[in-house]
Symmetry: D2
């Protein structure tokens, strides 16, 4: 008899109100449909595309989100820093140097189980800010978490696919799920690595896809064409949720199934056809 | 009555012999199954992971590839430069500055049709080498190609998802298909943009996925952990082909359907489950 | 008999009010002492460290500055854009793509002479924004300017010493002076290149050296140590002017002398010694 | 009565045989002239522009060099790695992650004195490889070295002037001298920081200045103009030594004097003038 599976639902970078509104509409039914036991969401872009604030945190909790992860925009809005110090369910990448506010990982109780789940948020360095090494940071944290649980979820917020794959190979067998974030585009490579870690390079974002990464596409085009700064504005329209569902053996911490969830699905066929 | 559809099959970055061997096994039946009318393949990594050579070019033609695109590794092996000057079916990114060998675009005859297809290879600049502007280069080339055909395929070899989306929005309605390459990871966002361009952020690679981007995973992990140079070696094993299929209205050049093709599909379920 | 020499004084990046105040104190006497015939100043940081505005432009003209050059911060304050379109004596790097406001070069009358001087502002791309190629842009502009004068001054705003040296070699003999800016640190390599171009890798800045590049040193240290954003503030104290003096043969446009000017000079000896 | 001063001579990045030959000609007389008590030289480019080898190390020792520092090219030639593990007078940047060969700092006896000198080699991260934090690494090493001596020399191998200034401010008063390397261009900002650290942003290189950073200028121009790889070759001609002389109070470790030494000096005046 196989042991019980823990269904973990991860929601990719929520970008501003379009992302939050869509989440409010869809998340409850998704949780229901997939019998999600634990919900994690990346909130680094939830406050107008950059950062997060206390009322958004509450909205996410109310929707059933258990843990909120972050990324390079976690430190964009200093007003939330004090709160980040108090609430252990809000994470920001662990490998930001000592001296920054907030937590980078946590071990949380699971309802309906005496097991726990560890969640670790890390950030890459290739094409990104120079912070501490995510590889050795992961080793250090995971060793600590292993004392409490074998069910470990990692959100690796990184730009380069090479760094994502390299860290995933480094952690294969040590963790249950490895989900990439930051590029805001879902990848099509959800798979089980040989030693039992469920992997996907990027979960994608939850927000407007009539955009460039959730922000106004005209501003973005202007920046690329002119090479000069132009103020980012949030986009709206053609909103999609990008998420990942993993099923983890609650005894061994091995991942048994991983799949991307995109809702609504992208239109890849002409209506008139 | 809808007009005839042109089936375009694009194969993502072929990495070394593992990629080439897999292609030899699968491509003919894929062409058959999907009734591909025109086959394009990115060959920038086909020669041991870096560059291409004349015998590989011939192998690709023999398999049914019509046009070979490139990227940042197109200029890795100088022995092929003379050949690149002669053969208009080998492309390298058009926006490399004048003075570099080879072609960046071409307009090709379609068999069984009096129509033509234009293929344009471009490269991004974000987190990449400083070369000419892909936006204005695209405008210049597309205006020229439009004199001969409305069926236009763009391979945009770029790192940043933002640059891919921005250029795609800039070209939406002007071209038939926009396929990203370079990250070696297939994305899950194949879709029709509102003005008729079929889009996907990255086709992914054709090569070993027991690897980091087709290269030995241990070397890659070493580079990330130690920060020092270590010689890349080609990986082998768990080989997959990543491709994209588009169906384009042969009269209007509008894309009617776009879908990723991954073969064999990634294992996302535990066998024992 | 040697022909008359034109004395060109160039003032490096002026950073905020500390730089402007120092300039107001020193520039008139410097012009006098060195019998400067033409004064150029880089103003990209003159408005609180970032950008420039109309009243600062006027202050600089009043001090005897003939032409104001810029850099990556030239487009920081949009309020000055309209003015940049009208005033041909304010330059910003020429190789920003078409569509941006302002001029990148100009040919100006010299008082007490029927000769003219061409001034060209360019920006590098290594470790900087992806804009147009400074090499081919320089070729194009210089060919135009050569129709009017052989006296040509280039302010190359760039980060990497390699790019500065490479462009200088490319232009040696074509221009009179090549002065680098942007790093805010004066270099000690003022020299005449073999074909007659006076060269220095960086003029340095005019502002507070009790700082990091003219900005508050504590903020800067925090950014490096923590890896997170902290608001820049202007520094003040230990203010120095960094400039370059060149003497150019008014007939041939060849540089005959180039020297750095730092005022007051840095304290490199202990007072008590 | 002032206490005895220790004269420290630092030679900037030696680039290949042109640099080594010049050093062999000049260094002995320089040591003599300036009564140098301790000689440090950066050797990261001494072997044909990239890396170092055992015979070059011996040549440097024979010339009177006491300690050899390195940089991003220290790991270019693996043949020297075993030797680096044995010889504590060869340094490479300390903040390369654990697992790399060699030493990053050392405390050395001074002849004619019962004092010791600590030498620390660090590397920057801005526009460079992601390695460990130089700030906290410096703190850790300096605390250790302080147990043995107050005379501490830091070679900070870094690209960005901001990172150099920021680290220097962080260490001002803790160390005797802070000398930047890596850009290969000497800076003109040698000065005493307020708490007694002698500072210069870059010592410059020792090698051919008829070049781009010591390498063939035509290759370099080609790389910038074409955006494609071209094999680097060593340059020769117009060779200069760039060094820094510091005088440090042997009791307190405070720097009393710092000056750049460039030999021969650059030609900044036309001969015919
Ligand atoms: Fe994000
Ligand atoms: Fe992010
Ligand atoms: Fe590739
Ligand atoms: Fe590539
Ligand atoms: Fe500046
Ligand atoms: Fe600048
Ligand atoms: Fe060097
Ligand atoms: Fe270096």
């Amino acid at each position: 008899m196989p042991s019980k599976l823990l269904n973990i639902l991860f929601v990719g970078d929520i970008v501003g109100d379009p992302g939050l509104s869509l989440l409010e509409t869809i998340l409850p039914s998704l949780i229901d449909k997939h019998e999600a036991d634990f919900v994690i969401a990346n909130g680094e872009n939830s406050h107008e595309g950059k950062g997060i604030n206390r009322s958004i945190i509450q909205r996410l909790y109310d929707l059933g989100v258990d843990v909120i992860t972050g990324g390079n925009h976690s430190f964009a809005k200093w007003k939330v820093f004090d709160y980040m110090k108090e609430d252990a369910n809000i994470l920001r990448p662990m490998n930001y140097p000592k001296g920054n506010p907030g937590y980078g990982f946590g071990v949380y109780d699971l309802s309906d189980s005496d097991q726990k789940i560890g969640v670790l948020n890390l950030q890459g360095r290739t094409f990104m800010n120079a912070i501490d090494d995510p590889f050795s940071t992961a080793d250090w944290v995971i060793e600590r978490m292993k004392e409490e649980t074998d069910i470990i979820f990692v959100d690796f917020h990184a730009e380069a696919t090479a760094e994502k794959m390299a860290l995933a190979w480094h952690l294969d067998g040590e963790i249950s799920m490895f989900v990439g974030t930051h590029t805001h585009i879902p990848t099509n490579d959800a798979r089980l690595l040989p030693n039992g870690t469920g992997y996907i390079s990027d979960a994608g974002m939850t927000g407007s896809f009539d955009s460039v990464l959730g922000m106004d596409k005209n501003t973005s085009m202007k920046r690329f064409k002119l090479g000069t700064p132009h103020r980012y504005r949030l986009a709206n329209g053609n909103n999609h949720l990008c998420a990942v569902l993993g099923k983890v053996d609650i005894e061994t911490g091995k991942c048994k199934h991983i799949e991307p969830i995109i809702y609504p699905s992208f239109q890849s066929n002409s209506l008139e056809e």
